[in-house]
Amino acid sequence: MTSTVESAGESPAAVPRFPMTRAAGCPFDPPPTAVAQQKQAPLTRVRLWDDSTPWLVTRYAEQRALLADPRVSADINRPGYPLQVALPPGGGSASFVLMDDPEHARLRRMVTAPFAIKRVAALRPAIQGIVDELIDDMLAGPKPVDLVEAFALPVPSLVICELLGVPYADHDFFQDNSKIVIKRDAGPEQRMGAQRALLGYLDDLMGRKLADPADDLLSGLAERVRSGEMTRNEAAQMGVLLLIAGHETTANMIALGTLALLEHPAQLELLRDSDDPKLVASAVEELLRYLNIVHNGRRRVALEDIEIAGERVRAGEGLIIANDIGNRDPDAFPDPDRLDIERDARHHVAFGFGVHQCLGQPLARLELQVVYSTLYRRIPALRLAGDIERVPFKHDGNVYGVYELPVTW
């Protein structure tokens, strides 16, 4: 795909396809075509599966400006929205992530309290316990072991289940279904089926929380359903979203982050041998920046004409805000392709920007801090079992990562 686009450079009609393909042997770097687009201009055009040609916003400053611009909509049902797949009949998801204010703000504020910094910080001992126990099991079990299955996926799954009040015994069911929901090449029928299954499960669970509330996030939502602040369907949709968002993203950051550190042994050593929680926090931010596992861009559509970076984005035109490339913008991060856990990367856009910025980021950050400060210290000889060339990367996923990571020690 890449070479076709590059060789067609002279033709004005040549608009590169999106999403783009990563270069072989560079699993952590953005696709070369995307990097070329960034060098070319802050806003360029790309061609999607449906032959539409939205803007690709390539540079950090313009990405932040547009993501925070109220003239830009996140509503998936608006004409011109750059869709990843065809919308099902009857419109897209009812998730607040794909709505604009004031509806978005109304629903988002129903679930912001449990993600406040102090509330999340109070979970640290529980998360540390989960991490330690999983490492105990790994050390006691056979090796090599798949780090994804033994550690990267269970950590956030156990944490989100505890936070939401979802029985962990059901995790096979929701992990299998959420895998299908976020798989790029899943067919619409298959995807809708998985979505329906998850919604049915959460609706059933909401019924149980309504009858018998506990001290968890879903019971908090049930209380709002009872008081008439939100509908039961809105609450169930919110549950599906948090369940999926809560485990898939962090799991990929744990596994891919570990692989990135194993491939940068000096950085791994620095992290492992330090007692400074600030270095751990800074390593988490740098890995979030460097890997930016959401690689399909934040999707938006312009509500009005917007003048930006010498271009006029017209009302109704789609915008793909490619945060993975933005996080490699040399104007925002000097020497951006170097993994440097000591740099100040806190202004990265791995969680997006604007009013839709990831709700769960305080939880994700804490989980990653606990993981990165514990795993390599407790298993100092941790290494990849086999060749990196054999590691199956999620080139087809909406969240980038690895399907498996065989490790030994």
């Binding site: 993501l67 925070a68 703000a105 988002r108 504020r109 912001t112 309290a113 993600f115 406040a116 910094i117 102090k118 509330r119 999340v120 806190r346 202004h347 969680f351 997006g352 920007f353 604007g354 009013v355 910025q357 980021q361 305080p362």
Partner: protein, 64 residues
């Protein structure tokens, strides 16, 4: 340095609290940011500026 915080814009990301815990806090009921001091001392200036720069909702304004 004088700070204003627009609570209507705030999306409760808490990034201001992480950056400058002596200047910002969050409401218990919904995580919306609260300004602890509108005129922070000079040694808080860098952290406060950082808080404003990472606020995803652009809800923090600083008058130097």
């Amino acid at each position: 340095m004088k700070i204003t915080l627009d609570q209507d814009k705030c999306v409760a990301s808490g990034q201001c609290v992480v950056a400058a815990a002596d200047v910002f806090d969050q409401r218990d009921e919904d995580g919306i940011a609260v300004l602890l001091t509108a005129e922070p001392p000079a040694d808080q200036a860098t952290d406060t500026r950082h808080a404003a720069s990472v606020c995803p909702a652009l809800a923090i304004h600083i008058q130097e």
